[in-house]
């Protein structure tokens, strides 16, 4: 069997390892589970639309038109921050290429020396001194790199992320170096929006109740109840989260470090990344440089996909003495169409199977046309039913692996096209060329059917 390499250009995001999903041709990068993110979107958009529908007309008239305007601005800011956090690359570190991985392995082995047999090799750790503090860099077995300080491997996205904070399901993405400030601004602006809507809901209810009574107000604006409920529960969680992250930013820590207690102060370990000044820390995290993505999702690369052609296309059609000239011309047509379609074969068993089925159909049609010329209708019918039984027996075997499919394809087209002549030759080919993995039952069926159909045709 020979293999033809087809090179095609693909975008790099299609070949990135890890469990991310990409949209808009690599411009958008998210985690796989997006259900909670849609819930977040729904809650925010839903609550705000209720606010604009029910409260804003009244408040714009009775208090000030600036209220809905400011709410709209805040809503747009919240949405922008949410989408920016969700869709951007959090700071994923690409995996090591094979040469780099080998280089690092060699360095590790050189550092470890000779480990006696039976003993576990020491854990792969590199010690680095940062600001008079020893920081341990761990080796990531998935990405085959020593993780930079503050990086961590996200098991949900299966990536190492730089300055890994946490994986946020509400946002549908990891929060890392590149999108932490957007995440923080999202929680901050969402808290403000929630407080704003909650306050003005209360104000609206109070103002309207003074005129109409409490129950009537609720009847007129049923959305208010929903909004108040959503805002009440959101307030506690989001405001709390914002407060927590403000505390982390002022200390220049990540959620990951806080949970693990890396800089909790025991053993005189202190955070080496902190500037010991709250304002400096805040400025570094929020107003620091905007790091670019190192993933290059939309870059182009060449991809080689092997396409197996078979060498069992007829070596010479002239050696086959067909009883009718139509058969020989048809056989010329069948292999050429076979090889032609073979060169168009896409990756994947499914595409090959479909083409295979099409080829079989075509060959059966050809044989049918040949058989139509026979005069005896009864035998013709029996022969045709034999052939179709033969083909249908082989259809289940289309689900067989790729390399076998190509083989089956070639033999079948051979067999079907040349049933009228030299059956022994094909039996011989089948006997020698059948791969070991094909069951002997299949072989028996093929041979039986072939002998039967050929014998029947002989009587015509």
């Amino acid at each position: 069997m020979s293999a033809v390499m087809i090179t095609r250009k693909v975008r790099k995001w299609e070949k990135l390892p890890g469990k991310n999903t990409f949209c808009c041709d690599g411009r958008v990068m998210m985690a796989r589970q997006k259900g909670v993110f849609y819930l977040t979107l729904f809650l925010i958009v839903g609550t705000c639309s209720l606010f604009f529908a029910f409260e804003c007309p009244y408040l714009a008239v009775h208090l000030s038109p600036a209220i809905p305007v400011f709410a709209a601005v805040l809503f747009l800011f919240v949405m922008a921050m949410l989408l920016r956090t969700s869709f951007s690359d959090p700071g994923v570190l690409p995996r090591a290429l094979p040469e780099e991985a080998t280089f690092i392995e060699m360095e590790i082995e050189a550092a470890n020396g000779n480990v006696p047999a039976g003993q576990r090799p020491p854990p792969r750790i590199r010690n680095v001194q940062i600001n008079n503090q020893i920081v341990k860099l761990k080796y990531c077995y998935t990405c085959k790199i020593f993780r930079p300080p503050r990086a961590s491997h996200c098991s949900i996205c299966d990536n190492c992320v730089d300055r890994f904070d946490h994986h946020c399901p509400w946002v549908g993405n990891c929060v890392g170096k590149r999108n932490y400030r957007y995440f923080y601004l999202f929680t901050l602006s969402l808290s403000l929006l929630t407080i704003y809507i909650f306050t003005f809901d209360i104000v609206h209810v109070v103002m309207r109740s003074v005129d109409n009574g409490f129950l009537n107000t609720l009847k007129e604006t049923p959305g208010t109840v929903l909004e108040v409920l959503v805002c009440f529960f959101t307030l506690w969680s989001v405001v709390g989260l914002t407060g927590f992250h403000t505390y982390l930013i002022s200390l220049n820590q990540t959620t990951n470090e806080d949970i693990k207690g890396s800089w909790s102060g025991k053993n005189r370990i202190q955070n080496p990344y902190s500037h010991k000044n709250i304002i400096k820390n805040c400025c570094e995290v929020l107003c620091g440089p905007t790091y670019p993505s190192v993933l290059d999702r939309r870059g182009l690369m060449q991809e080689d996909s092997p396409v197996s052609t078979t060498c069992t296309a007829p070596p010479s059609s002239s050696s086959i003495a067909a009883p009718q000239t139509t058969v020989s011309t048809d056989t010329n047509a069948a292999p050429s169409s076979f090889t032609h379609t073979n060169s168009k074969v896409d990756q994947g068993c499914e595409a090959q199977n479909n083409e295979y089925r099409a080829d079989i159909k075509e060959s059966c049609n050809q044989l049918y046309r040949v058989l139509e010329r026979r005069k005896n209708v009864c035998v013709k019918r029996r022969a045709i039913s034999c052939v179709s039984t033969y083909c249908s027996c082989l259809y289940p075997f289309l689900i067989v692996q790729l390399n076998e499919t190509a083989f089956l394809r070639s033999t079948n087209i051979y067999v079907i096209s040349h049933l009228c002549s030299k059956p022994k030759k094909y039996l011989h080919i089948l006997n020698n060329a059948v791969p070991k993995s094909l069951s002997s039952m299949l072989l028996t069926i093929i041979q039986t059917l072939q002998v039967v159909s050929v014998t029947l045709l002989r009587f015509l």
Partner: protein, 163 residues
Amino acid sequence: MPVFLLSSKFHNLQELRHSASLVTKVFIQRDYSEGTVCRFQTKFPSELDNRIERTLLEETVKTLNSYYAEAEKIGGQSYLEGCLACATAYIIFLCMETRYEKVLRKISGYIQEQNEKIYAPRGLLLTDPIERGMRVLEISLFEDRGSGGSSPSSSMSSGSSAR
């Protein structure tokens, strides 16, 4: 400038790619002693001992480090950029190039220039760190494919470079 034995073999980058075969790759790791700022170690790898002078490589690495430090500097300009971007909900980044991206372009131009002038004549090739996730500075070591025909190839290459 001291002349190396191998310097006559390769005269430009294209020749390097066509006539050379890759021997090995050397990786210069990140230097984390000053925190998470992007810096590369100036330690000289032993595999490059007879290929290039220490001072040249150190100079390249130091210049790269200074470029990265400039990109990641937290000062007046970065605050202004950050606050302006925040005020526009970061939409301004759709039209404007960030300072970091500008410096990255400068870096890739610098690496290209260094490759052409210094590294390719010695059979080496620097890879921009951003293509390796800013983790390593990869130096590829090449050797001339035809080991016996060094003189005719050099005369051919000198002829082609003279064009």
